[in-house]
């Protein structure tokens, strides 16, 4: 019962505190960004600037083919302003490409440089027999070796053979239950990890440092209530706040798609784990100012897996040592239809166990340092 009284008191205090409204405000900001700033799916369309260094007849044939593929079968003559110079181009737009034909290699270089897009010169050498087609690419410098190698492969193989080989390959899905997340939905796991779990770590430490500063902990310490009840009441408030803020984000974005029961379980266990870290920090430092460096380093470390999540090509082994990696993976499995519930349950069990260890450790440390 004392735990219940402490919890309701903490809930009342939280509803009258600054931090609670920061969390709500932050959740609403995330929701607005997700709904209005992040498109349902990012555009896959690429932009290319091309210069055709070939006889007029060959260029005409090339342009005729572009015209066929163009969405409105029209070549648009236009001018692109680069600094103070107007560069004439012919514009074609297909389903997945925006192509600008330019009139000189100089213009191509200027456009590729200023627009930070791919530029290519397609040259047909008529002085040899049979004529040879060659390609010169103007890249931006950040392209991966994989892409550069792909260009080399394409231009050193027979395209017809390559196309036939691709067509002949059979691809079978092991599971047909999976649905692919939209680009907007894809951002949700990392946002939930930050908002639902990691913010809890910071806020619970802030609550305890505030109590330390006001001497309230001393008053609590001379009652017949235990330290663990004090810490657990704070943890429960953080959990409730995290459920509320997660609901604010997830319901409008995902509707009825996620498994909400599984999400509730995962929120509680990961929140418990993150709160445990916050409790430990508040036990080892006297004030928020003194703990700031530790909190900052932890927050950054916990956010690194979110970077790896958005850049599939970057996933060093040590990322998997960070708990946030598994929190993101867990949320991904929950929101995707046909996600691996067993994996989420296993993760929940792991976070519950780790959270329990942290909580016991923090309670023991707080008993010694809460009042000092």
């Amino acid at each position: 019962m004392k735990l219940w009284y402490s919890f309701t008191k903490e809930l009342k205090l939280a509803s009258r505190s600054f931090y609670f409204y920061i969390e709500l405000f932050f959740a609403i900001i995330i929701l607005v960004v997700v709904l209005f700033a992040i498109p349902e799916n990012f555009s896959n369309s690429t932009t290319e600037y091309l210069y055709l260094d070939m006889p007029v007849e060959n260029a005409a044939a090339f342009e005729a083919r572009l015209l066929d593929e163009d969405s409105d079968n029209t070549a648009d003559k236009m001018e692109i302003k680069i600094k103070k110079e107007l560069i004439p181009v012919t514009y074609y737009e297909t389903e997945d490409r925006k192509i600008y034909l330019v009139e000189s290699e100089d213009d191509l270089v200027k456009l590729a440089d200023n627009k930070k897009q791919l530029g290519a010169v397609i040259k047909v050498d008529m002085s040899v027999s049979p004529p040879v087609t060659s390609y010169k690419y103007y890249l931006q410098g950040y392209e991966t070796d994989r892409l550069k190698n792909l260009y080399k492969v394409i231009h050193n193989s027979n395209l017809a053979t390559l196309e036939a080989a691709v067509e002949d390959q059979e691809v079978r899905s092991l599971s047909t239950e999976y649905t692919v997340l939209s680009d907007r939905e894809h951002t949700i796991p990392s946002l939930l990890t930050f908002n639902g779990s990691l913010m809890g770590m910071f806020i619970i430490a802030a609550y305890i440092f505030l109590d330390k500063e006001q001497g309230i902990i001393k008053a609590y310490a001379v009652t017949a209530s235990s330290v663990w009840q004090y810490l657990m009441s704070k943890t429960l408030v953080i959990t409730v706040t995290s459920i509320v803020t997660t609901a604010i984000i997830i319901i409008p974005v995902m509707g009825g798609k996620p498994d909400y029961l599984l999400m509730l379980l995962f929120l509680i266990t990961t929140g418990f784990f993150a709160s445990g870290i916050g409790l430990l920090i508040s036990a080892y430092f006297r004030s928020m100012a003194k703990a700031f460096n530790a909190i900052y380093v932890l927050m950054v470390a916990m956010m690194l897996p979110a970077i790896a999540y958005f850049i599939p090509g970057w996933e060093p082994f040590w990322i998997k040592l960070l708990p946030a990696y598994y929190i993101i993976q867990g949320f991904s499995e929950i929101i995707v239809k046909g996600g691996n519930a067993g994996y989420v349950l296993l993760l929940s069990l792991g976070f519950l166990a780790a959270g329990s260890v942290l909580f016991i450790w923090a309670t023991a440390k707080h008993k010694k340092s809460l009042t000092a």
Binding site: K2, K9, K12, L13, I216, A219, A221, V222, T223, A224
Partner: protein, 284 residues
């Protein structure tokens, strides 16, 4: 009610002791004053007695509980009023007391009655954050009574209060004594100690210099004086003379025989004067 034997405490956990070899006992129903200047070791001792500081060295028993393994149950019998007010600013006075009442396993007092007792009855529904320093102090004091404590720790209970409110607080302490409550009073206010305490301990630099009742201390250390105001050469004169020393006694006789006496008062040494005499230190 309290037994302390050879208590030592060091914050740096070396031989720089904040409390050194302190030994004393407090009887049931007694008001025991722990007196000393700031930094003398009063709060440290009280911290160990209330479990706010861990016992490092020595033997301490509080309300029958060994300080080496204080039980949470012990706090059902203990009340603690802090010098620095530490209430929930975002809760009303009544909410503060009602919440603390729920943290004990014993019968508790009615929050409204307690607020009336300390003169905050009409402020029950105001947030503590809007209170003045004195009002917060009274709320902290009232909170220490919520669980009907048998052993009551009071740290500077009248600090920052106006004389009328301070008198009310003194009356409350006195009434609780009549109800059998044992009080451990930490203060540097010698007037409060003199009025309320059955016995006082003088502590300086972590060491207890002396323990006795204010009356015995005055009898033992306080020289008695007489202040005499008289008319001499058509002008008013005044002398303070010892009633013990022979030379002064003769002078008193001479003044009585020779001059017109206007006023004459006997004067006892104050506890503060005795403290300075015994410890060689002031109280600031």
């Amino acid at each position: 009610m309290i037994k302390v034997k050879n208590l030592y405490h060091s914050y740096s956990k070396d031989d720089k002791y904040a409390v050194k070899d302190a030994s004393f006992e407090v009887e049931k129903g007694e008001i025991f004053g722990f007196l000393g200047p700031s930094g003398a070791g009063k709060s440290t001792t009280q911290g160990v007695l209330t479990g706010l500081l861990q016992l490092q060295k020595g033997e301490v028993t509080v309300a029958g509980y060994d300080a080496k393994k204080f039980s949470k149950k012990m706090f059902n019998d203990i009340g603690m009023s802090f010098e620095q007010s530490n209430v929930y600013n975002k809760m009303t006075a009544k909410e503060n007391l009602a919440f603390y009442a729920k943290l004990f396993d014993v019968e508790t007092k009615d929050p409204q009655e307690l607020l009336e007792l300390v003169g905050l009855g009409d402020k029950a529904n105001l947030k503590a954050g809007d209170f003045s320093k004195g009002m917060k102090h009274r709320l902290t004091f009232a909170r220490s009574m919520i669980n009907n404590p048998k052993l009551w720790f009071l740290d500077e209970p009248t600090t920052g209060l106006d004389p009328a409110i301070a008198a009310t607080i003194k009356d409350i302490i006195w009434n609780e004594k009549k109800n059998g409550v044992t009080t451990f009073l930490t203060t540097h206010n010698m007037f409060i100690a003199d009025e309320l305490c059955d016995r006082v301990a003088f502590i300086v630099d972590g060491e207890i210099k002396l323990i006795d009742s204010p009356r015995n201390l005055k009898l033992q250390y306080g020289a008695k004086f007489v202040d005499i105001e008289y008319i001499k050469d058509n002008d008013s004169a005044r002398e303070s003379l010892s009633t013990v020393e022979a030379k002064d006694r003769n002078r008193i006789k001479e003044l009585l025989d020779t001059y017109e006496i206007q006023t004459m008062h006997t004067k006892e040494a104050t506890l503060e004067e005795i403290f300075i005499k015994v410890t060689g230190r002031g109280l600031v």
